[in-house]
């Protein structure tokens, strides 16, 4: 029987929400890893029961968790008895060991000085399209890592961080995070990533070399608003059938590219605010996209206290507000960049979580919404899995 599974990361643990294909009645499991920040969870497209989770703490650092049964039970990869002993007789315990390749070097700090690269946490985990043991991790300070052994050990794809422009990258308000990883389903060696605040980059050779793809972005807060790097990209989305078309929610501006990121044009159109964090694409309509406008970068809540998703069926510029079932007064929550996801049932389901702890779902492509849960800790990420 088909159904959906929502993987919800929060400030104080992970939750797994499940429903059948009607997506009306939900079962809530959790919290897993109670008290820890769960930045992101994502399942493998090869084996949906294989789920990776990024568990973090300012006190105790980074942990990687892995489930092989759809989120019922979890382990830190490499902690099983057969994995314990390394060549030196000590435990391997490397599943949370993210070490930059070579001498890390420096990037730009908030005050314009150079600052050493320092690993802080994993923001986003992206399982590969063809192997459940292969997974990418986007981290703060910005870099891309990969594991080919199910998360037991990690190595950096250092061509990105060592790009000539690296010393010009700088942290956004949330840190210098690599938060978006999109793999081209037609060519898995082609990967798009985004960093706040450096911009978007693309590799065409599996991560060896990278190209900034920020032409057309305009960021007024920068000394050179059209610079090659330094843009605060909040999120990029792609429909798998059209990997050359990318949609971007930037710090300000909603953008699109139809040439794999080589050039961008603004499609903010009639949005009440073009500031926001998430952006996503309808599972069956590559030109139908969703954003959640936020009033401004200093007021991280919806305009007029109304929580509205905006949908464009024309790939941008012309937007309709979706309000049915969403609070239309006194609502001052935020929706973070990794907190929106779509399922592939018909009609397409759309989901997003808020910093107020609500997870909203629509089983009719956004026409109407219901709160699946209302009182979770602040939601950091939402990923949905469509189960066959």
């Amino acid at each position: 029987m088909s159904g959906v599974r929502l993987l919800v990361g929060t400030k104080k643990g992970a939750f797994v929400l499940t429903s059948d294909a009607k997506r009306k009645d939900w079962k809530v499991d959790g919290p897993h890893f109670a008290g820890w920040e769960i930045y992101h969870m994502k399942g493998s497209p090869v084996d949906p029961d294989r789920i990776y989770a990024s568990q973090t703490s300012a006190w105790f650092g980074q942990i990687i968790q892995r489930s092989s049964d759809g989120g019922k039970t979890w382990e830190t990869p490499g902690s099983s008895p057969e994995d314990l002993k390394g060549p030196d007789g000590m435990p391997k315990g490397k599943s949370n060991m993210f070490v930059y390749d070579g001498i890390p070097g420096t990037h730009m700090w908030y005050d314009g000085t150079q600052h050493p690269w320092e690993f802080k946490r994993v923001w986003h985990l992206e399982p590969a399209l063809d192997n459940a043991d292969h997974v990418y991790a986007g981290v703060e300070d910005a870099a891309l890592f990969e594991s080919k052994d199910g998360g037991k050990s990690w190595s950096e794809l250092s061509g990105l961080r060592q790009h000539d422009t690296g010393p010009k990258w700088q942290p956004g308000a949330g840190g210098m995070c690599l938060h978006t990883i999109l793999i081209d389903p037609k060519n898995p060696k082609r990967i798009f990533i985004a960093i706040s605040a450096a911009g978007a980059f693309r590799t065409d050779d599996g991560g060896k070399t990278w190209k900034p793809i920020n032409h057309g972005l305009h960021s007024q807060f920068m000394p050179d608003p059209n610079a090659e790097v330094g843009h605060c990209v909040h999120r990029i989305a792609m429909h798998p059938s059209k990997p050359n078309t990318l949609f971007m929610q930037k710090h300000w501006d909603v953008m699109r590219s139809d040439d794999g990121g080589d050039s961008w044009r603004e499609v903010s159109g009639n949005l009440p605010s073009d500031f926001g964090f998430p952006i996503d694409v309808h599972a069956h309509e590559p030109e139908t996209i969703y954003v959640v406008p936020i009033k401004s970068d200093s007021e991280h809540y919806p305009p007029d206290g109304k929580l509205r998703v905006f949908r464009s069926r024309k790939g941008g510029n012309e937007w309709e507000e979706l309000t049915k079932g969403l609070p239309q007064k006194d609502c001052y929550v935020n929706v973070l960049r990794d907190s929106m996801s779509v399922d592939s049932l018909d009609p397409c389901g759309v989901y997003f979580g808020t910093t107020g702890g609500q997870v909203y779902g629509s089983n009719d492509a956004g026409d109407s919404w219901n709160a699946i849960v209302r009182d979770l800790p602040a939601v950091l990420s939402v990923e949905v899995q469509t189960l066959k």
Partner: protein, 98 residues
């Protein structure tokens, strides 16, 4: 036998109770305790001290017999009461951050 009290978050990570009990081969030092702890519970590697430098994480503190010994050298001998198991060795998360 050494008795170790972990902070709540690390207890849930290592799936242990109020105290962890370990036997050390050599003398009781902070380094020896954490080496043994990580050997038995590898998921704790990197959570108390940095993977590479082996330095204590900034918001982790060590207490022995009521004293904060976080800044003592990691090879310094611990009090007999810790070495004999009369008193537990405390690893704590700093009270910070709300």
């Amino acid at each position: 036998m050494i008795r170790i009290v972990l902070p709540h978050h690390l207890r849930t990570l290592a799936r242990v109770g109020d105290e962890v009990h370990l036997d050390l081969n050599g003398s009781a030092t902070v380094k020896a305790i954490i080496d043994a702890l990580e050997n038995k519970y590898p998921m704790l590697r990197g959570t108390i001290r940095d993977h590479g430098t082996l330095k204590r994480r900034p918001l982790v503190r060590f207490f022995a017999c009521g004293e904060d010994i976080s800044h003592e050298p990691p090879d310094a001998p611990l009090p007999d009461a810790i070495a004999k198991g009369d008193e537990p060795f405390f690893i704590m998360g700093a009270i910070a951050g709300g």
